[in-house]
């Protein structure tokens, strides 16, 4: 029978300690590793973690599988960048407008889509996100349409007259990303350990039962969506400032929505660490495949780059990365339906019972 969590008291503190240690190590990381490329990959991982954790609140805990989160991501990126570039409003103010806009958008979308269940909800969420993309694309006066917005620069962050950072290096983005990632993880933790989390999960497990236990479904689904939209928009704002360019084809497509869902599915849905695991798998894998690091690695191991296999790998591996990504998705769904984290847990549990039995 499945026995869940609640280990002995002394052990309960272990994850907390590990989390604190990991955070401290990550804080010290830039002092040790100065390679901007490594920092950049870390920042991409943070971004992915934030996206995944944000989606997780709605999709993972509450069980509302939105495939339209590009709408909130795009809203966060666009509003922040538009306010900064066109109105000169500093992003740390503009960001609040962006997340507020995303929440309003979310509530409107929610009022439309939450009446629908199952596949209908999924399709509706895609449709709404597509409408938002098309509006952005065609409302040129405001959004600059397909040409997108190129940011001239991020103004220095000042407290009083002291300049905290002028954003000229990776490091401030690294810390901002890390902070955001930690924050969203904490939000997930807080959600899981509060009335909200109990209610969200109850809705996920059985809407009718939840309803009969005094849970107002519409209100709590909207709360979940609002939290999710808030942080997804925030990740969008972070993305926009970091990359310095937004256009509909990079921040608002169905592809963006799907990739957000995949972070959680690959890692493990409805768990605090799932999106972290998903990000740690997907981002480095995509990087390695994209720049052909795998082929390079094989060559370094002694594979002859001029051999037929070598040539083939060199020529095709970089082209094949989306293919490998697709295969990964199929494999995970077929063989690890609870994600990598769920799979690892199941395997270790099996091992544990085997040792116990022995």
């Amino acid at each position: 029978m499945l026995r869940a969590r609640k280990p002995a008291r002394g052990l309960a503190a272990l994850p907390l300690v590990l989390a604190v240690v990991a955070t401290i190590l990550l804080c010290l990381f830039p002092a040790v590793v100065s390679s901007p490329y490594t920092l950049h990959v870390m920042i991409l991982i943070f971004l992915s973690v934030v996206q995944g954790e944000s989606w997780n609140v709605l999709g993972g805990y509450t069980g509302q599988y939105s495939v339209g989160h590009a709408a909130y991501f795009g809203m966060g990126a666009y509003v922040t960048i538009m306010l900064l570039q066109f109105k000169g409003i500093a992003p740390w103010y503009g960001m609040w407008a962006a997340v507020a806009a995303a929440i309003v958008l979310g509530l409107v979308i929610g009022s439309i889509t939450f009446r629908l269940r199952g596949p209908y909800f999924v399709l509706a969420s895609i449709a709404v996100a597509e409408i938002i993309r098309l509006v952005t694309l065609n409302w040129k006066e405001v959004t600059n349409g397909a040409e997108g917005i190129l940011l001239s620069g991020v103004p220095p962050l000042k407290i009083g007259e002291t300049v905290i950072t002028d954003w000229s290096s990776k490091v401030p983005f690294y810390y901002a990303g890390l902070a955001l990632a930690v924050l969203t993880i904490l939000v997930n933790y807080a959600v899981q350990h509060s009335k909200l989390g109990y209610y969200f999960q109850a809705i996920r497990e059985d809407q009718d039962a939840a309803h009969s236990l005094g849970i107002p479904l519409a209100r709590y689904k909207n709360i979940a969506l609002a939290i999710s939209a808030f942080f997804t928009a925030w990740s969008g704002a972070f993305y926009g400032l970091y990359v310095g360019f937004v256009d509909p084809s990079t921040v608002q497509t169905v592809e963006v929505s799907v990739s957000i869902v995949l972070i959680c599915i690959i890692g493990g849905i409805g768990t605090i660490l799932g999106p972290v695991v998903g990000s740690l798998v997907l981002v480095p894998l995509a990087e390695a495949l994209r720049s052909n690091l795998i082929a390079d690695g094989l060559f370094a191991l002694g594979l002859d780059p001029t051999s037929r296999t070598g040539l083939f790998l060199k020529e095709n591996l970089a082209h094949a990365h989306v293919l490998i990504y697709g295969i990964l998705v199929v494999v995970v769904i077929l063989f690890m339906p609870d994600g990598v984290l769920g799979y690892v847990k199941a395997v270790t549990r099996k091992r544990a019972t085997r040792t116990e039995a022995a």
Binding site: P36, Y37, H40, G148, Y242, R290, S291, A318, V322
Partner: protein, 384 residues
């Protein structure tokens, strides 16, 4: 086994040890993703450049990076090239969206970037000191066409139809501005989402507006679709003007039924009178089985320029930048010289050409100096 994995990981993570200082250049291109079809032309062009450079004795080492058409991935590529691979310079990227992000980052790193083909004006108007562009700008695509049209006979009205993408919108914008400046009335203006199988209703609207000139900005496949459907509904203005991209491809030209007498602006054609252009065209055709689009030539030129400047810089990025600023090259792409003018920095004043499809072949018809044929004007109408 574990040891092997460990050493493989090490191989992945530790930067390759620098050998006896080859000229190491990074390349960022859309090898996969929606932009890959044209990305491939760039790759091919640069492969030929690589051969030529090696033949010239330059110990060239290229690091290829795929940006998958996404700006943030382009950034990853710059980061990796600049800090991990320690390239001396970068050639890329293809799309304007990625180049926007990449150029800024390269400039921050002070890694000289030569952009082959992205045409968005802003890219070289940001005051970047390390960003250079061989490509003409979007405005040039429209300007040269309207110049030519004007020389053939003053047109009274124009319809502008473009795909709703960065390239399409900025092309249409400059077309409109130039048309208005020259007193050509814009009677129709619309952006369409690329990839729709049916443009007939849009084209019916164009027909109803009866313009003398029809100006279009579209990629390869849509260009063919638009012309096919124009023929179907019998849209027949005085001239069809295509702003580069889809209209200047060999594939388009070979669709004789619909491509005849269509003008298009282009940065390069094998029939241009620049030294080596024809040879490049033949070689490319032989090697890759297709006529090179201008993207390939742009990419070839960009890499040739970059490698030449870099081989004289000895791995020093500052020196490379200085070489790029000071140098002048002549080759299949005509003269390449990076200059500061009209708010641009490091911009090559590239001479655009207008070509016209005549019996399935491109004939350069404008400017006079480069022309190797006479323009058919006005549009002779559709063959039944």
């Amino acid at each position: 086994m574990q040891k092997r994995i460990a050493s493989m990981l090490a191989a992945l993570l530790v930067p390759a040890l620098a050998a006896a200082a080859p000229v190491k250049i990074g390349i960022i291109n859309s090898m996969t993703g929606p932009q890959a079809p044209i990305g491939e032309s760039l790759t091919n062009g640069m492969k030929l450049a690589e051969e030529d450079l090696k033949a010239k004795g330059i110990d060239l080492q290229l690091v290829w990076e795929d940006d998958t058409g996404k700006p943030q991935v382009g950034l990853s590529a710059v980061e990796k090239l600049a800090s991990r691979d320690n390239v001396v310079g970068i050639v890329g990227a293809y799309t304007s969206a990625v180049t926007n992000a990449v150029a800024k980052k390269a400039n921050d790193y002070k890694v000289p970037l030569v952009n082959p083909v992205a045409s968005k004006e802003e890219i070289t108007r940001q005051g970047y000191k390390y960003v250079f562009r061989v490509s003409a700008t979007t405005e040039d695509y429209a300007a040269i066409l309207l110049d030519m049209a004007n020389s053939l006979g003053k047109a009274a009205s124009i319809a502008i139809l473009n795909e709703n993408t960065d390239f399409g919108v900025s092309g249409a914008k400059s077309a409109k501005a130039i048309a208005e400046k020259r007193g050509i009335k814009v009677v129709f203006e619309e952006a369409y989402s690329p990839g729709s199988p049916d443009y007939r209703s849009t084209l019916s609207k164009v027909k109803a507006a009866s313009p003398e000139l029809v100006f279009m900005v579209s990629y390869v496949a849509d260009a063919i679709l638009l012309m096919r459907q124009s023929r179907e509904i019998g849209l027949s203005p005085k001239a069809f003007l295509g702003a580069g991209a889809g209209f200047s491809t060999d594939k388009f030209a070979s669709e004789q039924e619909i491509s005849n007498a269509v003008f298009s602006s282009t940065q390069w054609t094998p029939s241009a009178s620049w030294p080596g252009a024809k040879e490049f065209g033949d070689r490319y055709q032989k090697r890759f089985g297709k006529v090179p689009p201008y993207h390939a030539a742009n990419a070839y030129a960009a890499l040739m320029v970059m490698a030449d400047a870099a081989s004289k810089a000895g791995g020093d990025r500052e020196k490379l930048a200085a070489n790029l600023r000071a140098g002048k090259w002549d080759g299949i792409f005509g003269e390449v010289k990076f200059q500061d003018f009209d708010g641009y920095q490091g911009q090559n004043k590239h001479q655009m050409l207008v070509e016209q499809v005549q019996a399935g072949k491109f004939v350069t018809v404008w400017p006079q100096k480069f022309a190797n044929g006479k323009a058919i004007y006005p549009f002779p109408g559709w063959k039944k």
